[in-house]
């Protein structure tokens, strides 16, 4: 399978070392093609049987001034021979295409790791843009602790692609492929999938396709003949469950999950949204699948996106909108209307760093309390949070089931990390997907006098659709009379309706799976996490358990209502730790709801947790060294 097998034998001095897990980060300018390089390494590794996890980290600016720190774009890939949950804490190989990329990434490269730099980019202009007074590559203090491969990548790429006939400027833009070739050699990656990709993506322009392929192979050949490194690293396939796999990002998974749910329940999917980072890719993905009857609507603003979805839900569609924090803020009033109308629809929040425009491309989990309490009045709705990219596929289907069963808008929280990160996804058989049954009252049921707010045992009201004779009814944002739905301002009625709306949502706790634990159920410390921090938290807990610590993980998928057995679980553990990418929102909630002392671990740097950060905190708490 690996191209390396053909070449490795030719150079006897090259040794091979087997590794369980490797982290590679490509870092360069926004226009350097680092996202492409990372994606290709990911796909190639997955095709080779590794488990993979990725962390694309790019700036909000499309093309910040060339060579500046603001314009540095990175893509981290981890591939492993075992089941992994995160893209890794520390980097084994860092590719830094310019001084700015070196400066902002060198801190994450592990001692003894491989540093690959393009010496051509470290000229006086590049150094100045990165605010380096001296060339760091000549500074022992900077590079001596790494295996440093400093190659004139720009020049070598230009030479390699000279025969393709593309111009000098375009030639230099192939240098990401040269860098990929280097990395592929070091880790025995197969060149073929990338060559196929080049053909697919750039095949229309043969000169470009040829140049990219030449650069890729030149990088490979250069690595083979250069002094550093003198070693291949081999990461054998991971023991994943049998089946057919593909890589999937969180946003793709959301889109696929939505299409699947609509398909399973026989509804048209209506997706109304306004472009916003990092949610826009859901709109892009869905708008490309009109063969499934998906109707996408790019609204004039966030409010229109939300209200168009309410209109579509009233008409009987599977109506969905998505946004990120600032956009959700704009939708909140209309979400209040959806709560009042008790219509099924989904609101997805791909959280990013806030407040306001904040960090548009960086992850944070600081919208939990907004999701729970952000609307005016007592306006409860179910809130679920996705744990990983692949989980996004499942969670929107579950959310839709809850929405139609309980006749309520449902919020699903993801974040920038989950949304753009990719992992292998075991492709399900369509027949295995959960069925979703929906009933609409018929004209015949009008006989006894139709009441739009008469409730069933779950306290859900009927979803009567326009076009049904005899069921004509008007709904609106004004308080409604119990059962009839007529406008009613009486004090007792408002209290009764407020209670009904609250009880309906609280009652969902009896219909969701019981909370499960990982690790030591009789442990001394319970780590409670939610959403996209799952990977880092679970890895930290596994690591600590292996090291003999008495710790368990309770990862929450349902934030509202919380699982019915959670109170009992929390009461069992002497200590509780809640790691979150915010200043303690779930921690606050647990303290409030269960009167437990919960420690927090808070991070608001626009970066995900490393599992090490969490493990350090677990050890500290267990050894009684800290409290908060």
């Amino acid at each position: 399978m690996s191209s390396a097998s053909a070449t490795a034998g030719a150079t006897p001095s090259i040794s091979v070392q087997e590794l369980e897990s490797v982290v590679v980060r490509f870092a360069g300018d926004s226009g350097d093609g680092m996202q492409l390089a990372g994606t290709q390494l990911t796909n190639t590794s997955a095709l080779g049987g590794n488990d993979v996890a990725t962390f694309p980290d790019y700036p909000a600016e499309i093309r910040a001034p060339l060579g500046t720190l603001a314009g540095v774009s990175g893509f981290q890939v981890r591939f492993a021979s075992r089941d992994i949950l995160t893209p890794g804490d520390q980097v084994d190989t860092l590719v830094a295409m310019n001084p700015a990329a070196l400066k902002s990434n060198i801190g994450d490269l592990k001692t003894g790791g491989i540093l690959i730099t393009d010496s051509d980019a470290f000229d006086s202009k590049g150094l100045k843009l990165a605010h380096y007074a001296h060339n760091p590559l000549e500074d022992n203090a900077v590079v001596s602790s790494f295996q440093h491969l400093n190659a004139p990548i720009t020049r070598l790429t230009r030479e390699a692609v000279a025969d393709s006939g593309i111009g000098r400027k375009l030639a230099a833009r192939c240098r990401n492929f040269f860098a990929m070739g280097l990395v592929y050699w070091i880790y025995e990656r197969d060149l073929e999938p990338t060559v196929r990709f080049i053909e697919r993506r750039f095949g229309k322009d043969q000169a470009v396709a040829e140049a990219d392929t030449l650069a890729l192979k030149a990088g490979w050949n250069f690595a083979e003949t250069s002094e550093i490194p003198r070693r291949h690293y081999r990461v054998p396939p991971a023991p994943l469950a049998a089946g057919r796999y593909r890589n999937l990002t969180g946003n793709q998974a959301l889109a696929y999950g939505l299409i699947s749910a609509a398909h399973r329940c026989g509804k048209q999917l209506f997706y109304g949204s306004y472009p916003i980072t990092p949610a826009s890719d859901i709109l892009h993905e869905l708008s490309a699948h009109k063969e499934f009857g998906v109707m996408t609507f790019q609204a004039e603003d966030e409010i229109a996106a939300m209200t168009s979805v309410i209109g579509a839900a009233y008409g009987g569609a599977m109506a969905v909108t998505a946004s990120a924090g600032p956009g959700i803020s704009l939708k909140l009033e209309a979400m209040g209307l959806a709560v009042m109308l008790e219509l099924p629809l989904l609101v997805l929040n791909i959280q990013r760093g806030g407040p306001s425009t904040g960090l548009p491309t960086k992850p944070e989990q600081a919208d939990l309390l907004q999701a729970l309490f952000g609307r005016s009045g007592e306006a409860p709705l179910p809130v679920l949070a996705a744990a990983s990219p692949a989980d996004c596929f499942e969670i929107v289907q579950e959310a839709w089931q809850l929405a139609v069963r309980f006749m309520t808008p449902v919020m699903v929280l993801s974040d920038a990390f989950v949304a753009s990160g990719a992992e292998p996804w075991r492709i399900p058989s369509a027949d295995d997907l959960p069925p979703i049954d929906i009933e609409h009252p018929t004209a015949a049921e009008a006989k006894g006098g139709f009441q739009p707010y008469q409730r069933n045992q779950l306290l859900a009201r009927p979803w009567a659709l326009p076009g049904t004779a005899g069921l004509m009814h008007r709904i609106g944002g004004l308080e409604k009379q119990v059962d009839t739905g007529n406008v009613n301002y009486s004090p007792d009625n408002h209290a009764a309706m407020t209670e009904l709306r609250a009880n309906k949502i609280a009652g969902i706790a009896g219909h969701i799976p019981a909370q499960t634990l990982q690790g030591d159920p009789q442990g001394e410390l319970l780590v409670v996490s939610w959403g996209g921090t799952y990977g880092a938290t679970a890895e930290a807990v596994r690591h600590c358990v292996r090291a003999g610590a008495k710790v368990a993980l309770c990862h929450l998928r349902h934030l509202n209502p919380l699982p019915a057995n959670l109170a009992g679980i929390l009461a069992r553990f002497p200590q509780i730790l809640v790691p979150e990418l915010n200043n303690g929102q779930l921690q606050r909630l647990l303290r409030d709801r269960f009167l437990v002392e919960a420690h927090g671990l808070h991070k608001v740097q626009g970066r995900p947790f490393s599992s090490r950060e969490i493990a350090v905190r677990i050890h500290a708490l267990l050894s009684g060294r800290t409290s908060s």
Binding site: N43, A46, P193, P237, A242, R244, Y245, R246, N247, Y256, I259, S260, Q268, F270, H289, K290, E291, G293, V294, M295, F297, A299, E300, I303, A304, A305, T307, S308, V309, I310, G311, A312, A313, Y314, G315, G316, A317, A319, A334, G336, L337, L341, I427, P428, S429, A430, L433, P466, G467, A469, G470, L471, M472, H473, R474, I475, G476, G477, L478, V487
Partner: protein, 338 residues
């Protein structure tokens, strides 16, 4: 609809107690709507009224059709989601000068430019009623209101000119107390395929009483009102002796008894492809000119929801059957053996 002939106003009347102030112009509009709906051949269950917030936005409660009383300004967006997914329904948007032009201005202009096949009725009373008497985006400069005790400083919006600026295919104006005229305009709005925008001058007898008296007073209105008819010259006046003529790009009042002036007399063409003449008419304001009532423009272009449905049908024809497995396995896949 075979039952069409059987519909009566009573079929469209809801059992809800009406909560508008006695004497409000909204009663009259509701009465005309109840008369018109049975004549359209559409069953109550296939008719949906969607409104925002304000006095006029209570309208849906008083009709026995489907309906949503939404939130302030958002009715056009609610209607967009419904109409795109249920194109077969007859959808009416009820809004006012505050709801549609102030807080909901953005949704209004985008609904019109997209050209969904919906009817938007904007009740213009030049005042905020439900919030108790503040000036609105159509109040004239100097308007004394509870929020402008020293007079409003705002230049008012011209709703018809705004709609025409969005390339509205159907633009009309009527007034609450002209039953037949209003009924006819509502029917025409319904018949038009695409967004029909209708401004209805409506009297708020509590906060802005008599603001349209110039148009409704039987004794004087002939001099201030011009009822548009397609193909007919723009003539008005108690003695039908005045007209609207064109002088370069300016409209001006002309005397018909002057042969020389008469040559400039404009003839109404509601189907003119270019909206410029309609815009010129929309900008004629009382008291300098008579104001135009009736249909200013009626030009059809494809409805948005039809285009959206067509795009889906095309994708379904060219893309083959929609099979989830095909979606899931797009791109590179690999097999992990058992």
């Amino acid at each position: 609809m075979n039952r069409a002939a059987d519909f009566k106003p009573a079929d469209f009347a809801s059992d809800q107690e009406i909560r508008w102030c006695p004497g409000c112009g909204d009663y009259s509009v509701l009465a005309q709507m109840k008369k018109v709906l049975p004549t359209l051949g559409i069953a109550p269950e296939n008719t949906v009224f969607i409104s925002g917030i304000g006095c006029s936005s209570r309208f849906p409660y008083y009709l026995n059709t489907y309906g949503i009383h939404g939130i302030h300004g958002r009715a056009p967006a609610l209607a967009t989601g419904l109409k795109m997914t249920r194109p077969e329904l007859s959808v009416w948007v009820i809004t006012g000068d505050g709801d549609g032009l102030s807080i909901g201005g953005n949704h209004l202009i985008h609904a019109i430019r997209r050209n969904l096949d919906i009817n938007i009725l904007l009740f213009n009373n030049q005042i905020y009623g439900l919030t108790k008497g503040q000036y609105s985006p159509t109040s004239p400069p100097g308007q004394i209101s509870r929020s402008t005790p020293y007079g409003s400083l705002d230049q008012p919006l011209n709703p018809l000119a705004l709609a025409l600026g969005c390339d509205a295919g159907f633009v009309a104006r009527s007034v609450d107390v002209w039953p037949q005229h209003l009924a006819e305009v509502l029917k025409r709005a319904h018949r038009h395929r695409g967004t029909a925008f209708v401004e209805i001058y409506q009297n708020c007898n509590i906060y802005n009483d008599g603001v349209f008296a110039w148009a409704t007073d039987r004794k004087t209105r002939a001099n201030h009102v011009l009822e548009l008819q397609h193909g007919k010259p723009l003539i008005f006046g108690e003695h039908q002796d005045q007209g609207i003529g064109l002088d370069g790009l300016q409209a001006r009042r002309i005397r018909l008894d002057d042969d020389h002036e008469r040559e400039a007399l404009l003839v109404h063409d509601e189907h003119a492809p270019d909206p410029i003449l309609a815009l010129l008419l929309a900008r004629l304001r009382h008291p300098e000119f008579p104001e135009m009532f009736g249909v200013l423009r009626d030009v059809e272009r494809p409805a948005y929801e039809e285009l959206a449905v067509e795009q889906i049908q095309q994708a379904q024809t060219t893309g083959g059957p929609a099979v989830l497995e095909k979606l899931f396995t797009g791109g590179d896949t690999w097999e992990v053996p058992a």
